[in-house]
């Protein structure tokens, strides 16, 4: 049984956040890329969890093969990391994401999955932590004519298909799909495993198999971006925080409650 995991490199979102807070995020000359050289590049955390979900299936069933694919200009490090975690195959789809939109990326990944033998399960992250779009898995599912189940915390084999628990805002929802499917994984799945030292060493020697996008037979129109990213900026925050200071803890608490009543934020206002 073949499980494919789609994984992407992102800039460490915590580091980006810190630069934003300090007002030091640097945008490149193109107006849209983040260029601070010291920001680490990582595997998108949800994709790491998607790989973890795949590896758990493999833990339970030796016949499971886990192949990880990444489309990007430089995916070598995250693919080695995937190998160290326990991926069987690592594949680099050598296209430059800068000239593509989520639709084209989804189509390319879908075409690769299809042309490389298909899969019983394709796992993605619920969204990339940079663009927060969550679009690629949907396009991929449509490209393969497979059903899409989003925001899963658990995936298990059930009959000819899958039983998936979705983490909804109302709690867990269990769904069943009786065929191959695309499933997106959310952080509720739990922490991904750490690669052991010896697996890391072994993975260092692994090189990903390169897949040329031109080999996938997509037309120029299918790859033409429908939507183009034009800029990245940092929004201004309009805070006007009034600090309630001085006096004892109880005096501060009383002062806050008085303000909240005055503002009618809590019942029993000044009226």
């Amino acid at each position: 049984m073949r499980v494919v995991v789609c994984a992407r490199e992102v800039l460490d979102p915590d580091a980006v956040s810190n630069y934003v807070l300090e007002g030091k995020l640097e945008i490149g000359e193109d107006g849209r890329s983040v260029v601070n050289a010291s920001i680490p590049r990582l595997m998108n955390a949800y994709d790491e969890q998607a790989l973890e979900a795949a590896l758990r299936l493999k833990d339970n069933d030796e016949s499971v093969t886990v192949d990880v694919v990444s489309l990007g200009s430089d995916s070598a490090d995250i693919l080695k990391h995937a190998a160290a975690m326990g991926a069987d195959g690592i594949f680099h789809l050598a296209a430059d994401p800068a000239g593509l939109d989520c639709s084209a990326i989804g189509r390319l990944l879908g075409a690769w999955v299809g042309s490389s033998g298909g899969a019983q399960l394709v796992l993605c992250g619920r969204q990339a932590s940079d663009d927060d779009q969550g679009v690629v898995p949907a396009v991929l599912a449509e490209a393969l004519s497979l059903p899409l189940v989003t925001i899963a915390r658990d995936v298990a084999v059930a009959g000819d298909g899958w039983r998936v628990i979705r983490a909804t805002p109302d709690g867990d929802e269990t769904v069943q799909v009786d065929c191959s499917a695309v499933v997106t994984i959310s952080n509720e799945l739990g922490d991904p495993r750490y690669p052991t030292m010896s697996n890391k060493m072994k993975a260092r020697r692994r090189t990903a198999e390169t897949v040329e996008p031109s080999s996938l037979g997509l037309s120029a129109d299918e790859l033409a971006p429908r939507v183009v990213m034009t800029s990245t900026s940092v929004p201004e925050l309009h805070g006007q925080c009034e600090f309630i200071e001085g006096g004892s803890v109880d005096e501060q608490a009383a002062a806050l409650v008085a303000r909240l009543r005055q503002d009618e934020a809590i019942a029993g206002g000044s009226a």
Partner: protein, 325 residues
């Protein structure tokens, strides 16, 4: 000629007789339809929210197109995608604006993929001009904004984030006309629900008052201090993601980008640092209060009132002050 119409899409029947984020959707739709000189239509898949025609009328919606095929009830990804795609297939060039919700996040990008058109989620703002569409979307959990551009007059699909755009004023009065449309919902659903999610207690989205705790509470046992204040205020308990991940509290209580987007009258954040992914779920609160031991915590940049101190002392003190006054 390509359609210049703007189509609003609702797939949930929402609360109070209106689908999620209906006002913002209507206001944004009105503005875009005026810019494009096309009709404004509202596509409703499944149950028709009782107040929708009135709201639509007040924003000058040309018609509410209601598809009420039996297969559109409940969680019906395939039927909804098929129905919306067949509706838009007849309106090449239209702009589809959907409210972004947990369910629509799964359906909206599929509609675009089915139509082979572009899609942008998390949209904060958009404008149409003669050459295309310009839009702004939140990225990095809200830390940054991305500008996007659709060129030409191809069909475009966007999902409006539910906490950012302010609803504009309503215009004319009276109900929008209702038209029943029959759409091809396709084959039977491939995904079936075995066990539905059940929420116990009030939902965060509906809460008027939320007291939320984060890792600054230091120990699961201290969550009781948050609960006591929430109870004293008649509110609901919220949480940041780490304490959900650590199992202190159920995930249905998580506020933020990947939890609930709330808009209460009062939100009190205790021991929460103010990461953008959390703040996106609470900055629509009318009054936002932060309690944090670190005076430089990011949360103070966006709150109305700030208390610098130990939440383990301040929370019970506020509870006492509420009870006493």
């Amino acid at each position: 000629m390509a359609s210049r119409d703007v189509v609003l899409l609702s797939i949930d029947s929402g609360r109070d007789g209106l689908p999620s984020n209906a006002l913002r959707l209507a206001a944004m739709g009105r503005r875009l339809a005026d810019q494009r000189g096309g009709q404004l239509r509202w596509l409703v898949l499944g149950d028709l929210p009782t107040q929708l025609a009135t709201l639509a009328g007040s924003y000058g919606v040309t018609a509410v197109d209601h598809a009420d095929d039996d297969s559109l009830g409940g969680w019906a990804g395939d039927a909804q995608v098929n129905a919306a795609a067949s509706y838009l297939g007849d309106r090449q060039g239209a702009l589809l604006i959907a409210a972004q919700t947990f369910d629509s996040r799964c359906i909206v990008p599929r509609i675009a993929a089915r139509l082979g058109c572009g899609v942008v989620m998390n949209v904060v703002d958009l404008d149409s001009d003669d050459d295309g569409l310009s839009l702004t979307a939140a990225a990095y959990g809200g830390d940054t904004r991305s500008g996007y551009r659709f060129e030409g007059d191809a069909t475009a699909v966007v999902a409006l984030g539910d906490n950012v755009v302010d609803a504009g004023p309503a215009g004319s009065q009276g109900e929008a006309p209702l038209e029943t449309v029959s759409l091809d919902c396709g084959e039977p659903e491939r995904v079936s629900v075995v066990e539905r999610a059940v929420t116990e207690g009030p939902r965060l989205e509906d809460a008027e008052v939320i007291v939320a705790g984060g890792r600054g509470l230091q120990d699961a046992a201290n969550l009781g201090l948050v609960e006591e204040l929430a109870t004293a205020l008649g509110g609901v308990v919220g949480a940041s993601r780490p304490i959900v991940d650590d199992g202190w509290i159920d995930r249905s209580q998580q506020v933020g980008l990947t939890g609930s987007i709330t808009r209460p009258r009062l939100y009190i954040a205790a021991g929460i640092s103010g990461a953008s992914q959390h703040m996106v779920g609470c900055t629509s609160a009318k009054t936002l209060v932060a309690i944090n031991i670190d005076p430089d915590a990011a949360v103070f940049r966006q709150c109305r009132y700030g208390l610098v101190g130990d939440c383990l002392e301040l929370l019970p003190a506020i509870t006492r002050a509420i009870k006493e006054s």
